[in-house]
Amino acid sequence: MHDSILTYAKSRYLWIALGLCVVSIALYIWHDPGIAPNGGTWLGYTLGTVAALLIVWLLLFGIRKRSYSTTMGSTLGWLSAHVYLGTALILIALLHCGFQFGWNLHTLTLVLMLIVIFSGFFGVYTYLRYPTLMTRNRESATRDAMLDEIAEIDQNALSLADGIAPEIHAVVLRSIENTRLGGGVWTQLRARDGSDIAIARIKVAIEQRETQLGAPPPSMQAGQTILAMVDFLAGHADDKQSDAMRKLIDMLSRKRSLATRVARDIQYQAIMEIWLYIHVPLSVTLLAALTGHIISVFFYW
């Protein structure tokens, strides 16, 4: 079976991390500094050194994953160790500080470290869950292939609509203009392509029609494409036009489902990336805080 980052090399790094935790806890329990446990005892310095080296090593992952020609183990192995040793770091750092916190640079360093690690946990979750969802969503196509198909459908739909009636051509034209895939950070994360809204609007409009039995007020809003066609069908279409209309509706439905899948693809990719925008900058910030923490402690020793 394919190894995940958690099961790599029979979870070798899980056991190493657990061993590190057990040794740290045992030392912490055994050690009696005579005063409240803190970073200034010999064990405090030891755990602090281990934690600092771990942080530097964890940061090196950012370099390792970019160096494709390295012979120092696989990226998967590094990532597995990155995850497990990064998790062990929570415990080691807490034991290092002896659970002493304050409004100072030292606790800021700890908080930054915890945010980085917990954002990493989210990353692990997305890396385990989303690749599968992404593959299933794409249905063995690529995003480019889906986009090409959408473009093709647009062309075909336009010429088909032109053969039916000018007003149908106009609504298809509008539908093409309104199809917008992607967008800002929030839009990408929420996978909004407008089609859900369109369907909801159609439902509302049909209900309105049933109650009012009058013509709908001309609306310039999205989600009217299929509705306008249905309206046209019910009104004054002959058989030939009806066939073309049904074909057009099929086409636009296909387009809608494609658009939804592309939006979801963008969403999955965005979710898998978004945590890095916290994880990476804060880990670099953490490096500054850690430097400050170590220097300040020895500055006023």
Binding site: I35, Q100, T187, V284, G292
Partner: protein, 573 residues
């Protein structure tokens, strides 16, 4: 109204030519239908797609005639009022509205957009499909975070070390000062200079030096004489190795017995014989028997207590005769004020500190029963409980006064003494005075002897007659140690929950005053043990002992070159 419709014709790659056309009418229609003023044979255009109305000089109104709208200046719109220069894009055609020229009221330029440009436009209108195409970034927040934290977390506070006054300014500003480095709350005694790190941390990257401590703690007593022991060589003896600040307001005194044991567990070897102190590392398991200080006097009767290991057989020769058993009679004692039951507290009363007991005072504790009367004819008169000379003075003066005043009703006295002199009587003759004073001297001497040998002084004191040629009686000096364990601290107040006899076991039955009623280490160990005590009070060294203990050597001297020789008693316990 006359419209100029100028078509741009591209010939080859670089050369272009224009073809002008005139349209009459207010409205310029655009679409795929044949009747349109500007006819666009493009599927992306509707039959009647839009209209442009010239509403004034260089002012146009563009209206979309279909629901899809029209793209004006890059934005989809349904109706817009624009000036000259506005661009309308429709499929592969670009319309540019021009300013009216010549005898035309309005003008528009029609150009086709070539395929590569169309693709460019499409791709430029595409919305971002990955986060890296959006405004968020990893790079600049990384730099920003790194620089901000380094600048405000490290560099700014560090700058206060070299820029005088900066720390004070920062303290009253929203920017972090060195307080941002403070790992824990400062001890309450140090709070008043807590903001000034350099008061203790005088040099960067160096541990706090003792010098910083002794700049205030000048008169704190030293532990041992540096002339005799080089303490830093024996173990870590920096002030800061025991006294660590930044651990909150609970104080900086470490009670850890290892701080003492690290040297005292093998001090003889460690000091290469310079110290003769017994090795000690734990009160419960590795502490020798106490050395008790017992009273003693040298040849000149100077009090010189002797220290020796406590044992049951030791006697405390205080010079006093006292029977505890007799005084603690449960049936009570017959006193001039009736039957009285004495307890320990009748005589042993705590001093103001409640730590030690007040010395026994004859006047308040013994005198009720043990009066110092000397003459049955004057039972209210007593000698003072004072030096022998003061006693004899009192007697001499008392009897001299009686002799000269007369009226002393003792048959054995001379007539001149017995006879009461009235006012107006003639003064005594020289012969009579001599006779009266001779009686007085003899009587005083007799009274002195009676006091010193009879029931008064000897009840409690050992009295010897005056040596030949003198007339001052000798009363042996009386003194209990008072402080039996001089090197340790004991606090009676902290032991109030215990009964006296819990520790002073034999006191109630003691008949001899030289019984040592002070307990040894075993008694303490019934309740106390070392740091790792199980089921007992965990008592580390400083529960009883002071580290800063040399009374004659203060830290300022101990760290300087002045060496004060420790008395012999300080070398050994």
């Amino acid at each position: 109204m006359r419209w100029l419709i100028r078509r741009v014709l591209k010939k080859g790659k670089s050369s272009i030519s224009y073809e002008d056309d005139i349209h009459f009418g207010d409205i310029l229609t655009i679409g795929r239908a044949a009747d349109q003023a500007i006819f666009l044979p493009d599927l992306r255009a509707a039959l009647n797609h839009a209209s442009i109305t010239a509403i004034g000089r260089d002012k146009y109104r563009i209206e979309s005639l279909i629901v899809a709208g029209i793209r004006v200046n890059g934005e989809i719109t349904y109706a817009a009022t624009v000036g000259a220069g506005a661009i309308i894009e429709l499929g592969s055609t670009r319309l540019t509205l021009l300013d009216a020229r010549g005898d035309f009221d309005a003008a528009v330029e029609v150009a086709s957009i070539d395929k590569s440009e169309q693709a460019e436009i499409v791709s430029s209108r595409k919305k971002p499909t990955s986060l890296s195409q959006t405004w968020i970034s990893k790079r600049w927040p990384s730099w920003l975070g790194f620089i901000l934290v380094l600048a405000f977390g490290l560099l700014l506070p560090a700058a206060t070390h070299v820029v005088p006054g900066l720390n004070t300014i920062l303290h009253y500003s929203p920017f972090p000062s060195t307080a941002f480095w403070n790992p824990g709350e400062i001890d309450s005694a140090h709070q008043f200079f807590a903001k000034d790190c350099t008061r203790c941390h005088q040099q960067a990257f160096l541990m706090v030096r003792d010098k910083a401590c002794t700049s205030c703690h000048v008169k704190t007593k030293a532990h041992a004489d540096p002339a005799l022991f080089n303490i830093p060589e024996l173990g870590d003896a920096r002030c800061g190795s025991c006294h660590q600040d930044h651990n909150g307001k609970r104080g900086m005194v470490s009670t850890d017995q290892r701080l003492c044991a690290s040297c005292h567990a093998d001090l003889k070897d460690r000091s290469k014989g310079a110290s003769q102190l017994v090795d000690i590392s734990d009160f419960g398991t590795a502490h020798p028997q106490f050395h008790v200080s017992l009273p003693g006097w040298d040849a000149r009767d100077e009090f010189t207590p002797k220290s020796m290991p406590w044992s049951n057989a030791l006697k405390e020769n205080s010079g006093l005769k006292f029977n505890h058993l007799k005084h603690l009679d449960r049936d009570g004692l017959k006193t001039p004020d009736g039957l009285k039951i004495l307890t320990c507290a009748s005589c042993h009363q705590p001093d103001v500190s409640a730590a030690a007991m007040k010395p026994i005072a004859f006047e308040t504790m013994c005198h009720d029963c043990h009066t110092l009367g000397f003459d049955t004819l004057a039972p209210e008169r007593e000698v003072p409980h004072a030096k022998v000379e003061a006693v004899t003075y009192t007697l001499d003066e008392f009897y001299a006064k009686r002799a000269l005043e007369g009226g002393y009703a003792d048959a054995r006295a001379p007539t001149i003494v017995q006879e009461r002199r009235r006012p107006g009587s003639p003064p005594l003759s020289r012969q009579e005075q001599v006779e009266a004073l001779a009686w007085a001297r003899d009587r005083a001497r007799e009274a002195t002897r009676t006091l010193f040998t009879g029931k008064a002084c000897v009840t409690c004191h050992t009295v010897n007659p005056p040596p030949a040629g003198e007339n001052v009686w000798r009363v042996a000096p009386v003194r209990v140690s008072g402080i039996w364990y001089a090197k340790a601290r004991f606090n009676h107040a902290k032991h109030q929950t215990q009964a006296c006899v819990d520790c002073h076991e034999g006191a109630q039955k003691s008949e001899a005053s030289n019984d040592l009623l002070i307990p040894g280490i075993d008694n303490c160990r019934e309740c106390h043990a070392g740091a790792h005590a199980k089921g007992k009070v965990a008592s580390t060294c400083i529960a009883c002992h002071d580290y800063h203990r040399l009374p004659q050597l203060t830290l300022d001297k101990a760290t300087g070159s002045t060496a004060v020789e420790a008395p012999p008693g300080e070398k050994t316990r």
